[in-house]
């Protein structure tokens, strides 16, 4: 059984952490693929440096939100690369953060509608 996780105290996530978790949600990725994906997901707004990326990955590994995994793009001949994957806990955190953001957006949209009427 996964250890209990105090979700509210872990939220909100920083933008970089949110995008890293989001990038890993479809499946494992190696560092460079995460960087590229985060850039694409944020429409070029969040461009991670390697320092920021691996600093965040280290913390996520220690928190147990991310684990090491086999690189899906490794073909056996290329230099060995390490990939990262979401853990169940990481997925729960990502879901909770997404729900929190959705609530914020819903509240903002509701207020916008009220102002129009």
């Amino acid at each position: 059984m996964a250890p209990s996780l105090d979700l509210p105290s872990n939220l909100p996530l920083t933008e970089a952490t949110f995008f890293i978790l989001l990038s890993l949600s479809p499946g494992p990725k190696h560092g460079y693929a995460i960087m590229k994906d985060v850039q694409a997901l944020s429409e070029d707004r969040v461009v991670l440096s390697t320092g920021t990326l691996y600093g965040a990955l280290k913390r996520l590994l220690e928190q147990g939100w991310v684990k090491r995994a086999n690189d899906p793009e490794s073909n056996g001949t290329a230099r060995e690369r390490k990939a990262y994957a979401l853990t169940n806990e990481g997925r729960r955190v990502l879901k909770a953060e997404t729900a929190r953001l959705q609530k914020l957006v819903k509240a903002a949209q509701l207020r916008a509608v009220e102002e129009r009427t």
């Binding site: 440096s49 320092g51 920021t52 691996y54 600093g55 280290k58």
Partner: protein, 342 residues
């Protein structure tokens, strides 16, 4: 990969050296590979793109490195609290890296052989005097940085060079003040009474520093570090020997001879041996042997008074190292360890 991308990747590898050791061991290879991939792709788009990638890394780098060190520090504190003493590696016997050795050694080089060589041939022309002063000031200004890094990294062995200099300077000021204010006399006092007062003041200063370190939480790691290996404090004070043999009486020794240069080189080698030695006994032996040899060479060159200074310095240096020879405390009567974060 283009030559420009290869070049910046090499520079990037140098920047990685400033991350904490555990972080480096875990991520250096990956970070380098990721940066190399980013640099190669950027270089394919043009120089401007490559420059942008480099600037982004440089912009983030200081903050990320500081964060990584703070994170490691917190983690070490937590590990220290949770691990049992029996599972800890033997303290004080860790091997220093070459970079750490250099960090602890360069003050010996500066105040020793470099200082001696800069002073010759004598008299110095103005430009050389100004240049040597500037080099000295620039290097001495790095001492607070060494102390700061030493404190931040919980006083590794190399950092005691910087602490020793601070302690020697502090003791020097106190001794000078005692002579000028309390006794209202200058340096015309006989040598040995002066020396006894200097030793007493030094021991007092050292005691006050350690008591302050024990009582004041930001310095507690210094107290614990000295308690687990007293020779480290001796090594800090050993820098005094480096300074002693770098100070030359030019009027009497206007020509650079082996009797002038060799002692400072011997002290430098002694410091090197200390930093690279694995056991406390080897470290004490490295300092004792080199100090005795240096005094011997100076005395052979006709400077017998160095024997007196050397003896005083020897006592000062080996007061803390001798504490290492005390029998270990009875574990059953030992107090529980002091918690850093309590």
């Amino acid at each position: 990969m283009s030559s420009a991308a290869r070049f910046v990747t090499r520079l990037y590898a140098l920047l990685l050296r400033l991350y904490p050791r555990r972080f480096r061991e875990e991520f250096t290879g990956e970070m380098q590979a990721t940066f190399a991939a980013a640099a190669a792709e950027a270089a394919g788009r043009g120089r401007l793109s490559l420059v942008t990638v480099c600037l982004r890394e440089l912009w983030d780098w200081p903050l990320v490195v500081i964060r990584a060190h703070l994170h490691e520090r917190r983690k070490r504190d937590m590990d220290a609290q949770t691990s049992s003493p029996t599972t800890n590696p033997p303290v004080g016997n860790e091997r220093l890296s070459w970079l750490e050795t250099l960090a602890g050694l360069w003050p010996f080089l500066l105040f020793g052989p470099v200082s001696v060589l800069l002073a010759y041939p004598y008299p110095m022309p103005d430009w050389r005097y100004v240049l040597s002063r500037r080099i000295l000031i620039a290097c001495v200004s790095l001492f607070p940085l060494g102390l700061g890094i030493g404190w931040f990294k919980r006083w590794p062995r190399w950092s005691y060079t910087y602490l020793g200099l601070a302690l020697l300077v502090l003791s020097g000021f106190v001794v000078n003040a005692i002579f000028r204010i309390v006794f209202e006399v200058g340096p015309e006092w006989p040598f040995w009474p002066q020396a006894m007062i200097a030793i007493g003041v030094f021991a007092l200063t050292m005691g006050v520093l350690l008591l302050a370190a024990r009582a004041w939480r930001p310095l507690l790691s210094l107290y614990l570090g000295v308690r687990r290996d007293w020779t480290q404090l001796s090594f800090g004070l050993f820098l005094g020997a480096g300074i002693l043999f770098g100070l030359i009486d030019h009027e009497e020794d206007p020509v650079l001879t082996v009797f002038v240069f060799l002692p400072s080189l011997i002290v430098l080698l002694g410091a090197f041996a200390y930093l690279r030695s694995a056991t406390k006994a080897q470290r004490i032996l490295a300092m004792l042997t080199s100090l005795a040899l240096a005094i011997g060479v100076r005395a052979a060159g006709g400077k017998f008074f160095y024997g007196g200074y050397g003896a005083v310095l020897g006592v000062i240096i080996f007061i803390p190292a001798l504490l290492e020879l005390l029998p270990p405390a009875d574990p059953s009567r030992a107090k529980p360890p002091v918690s850093i974060t309590s």
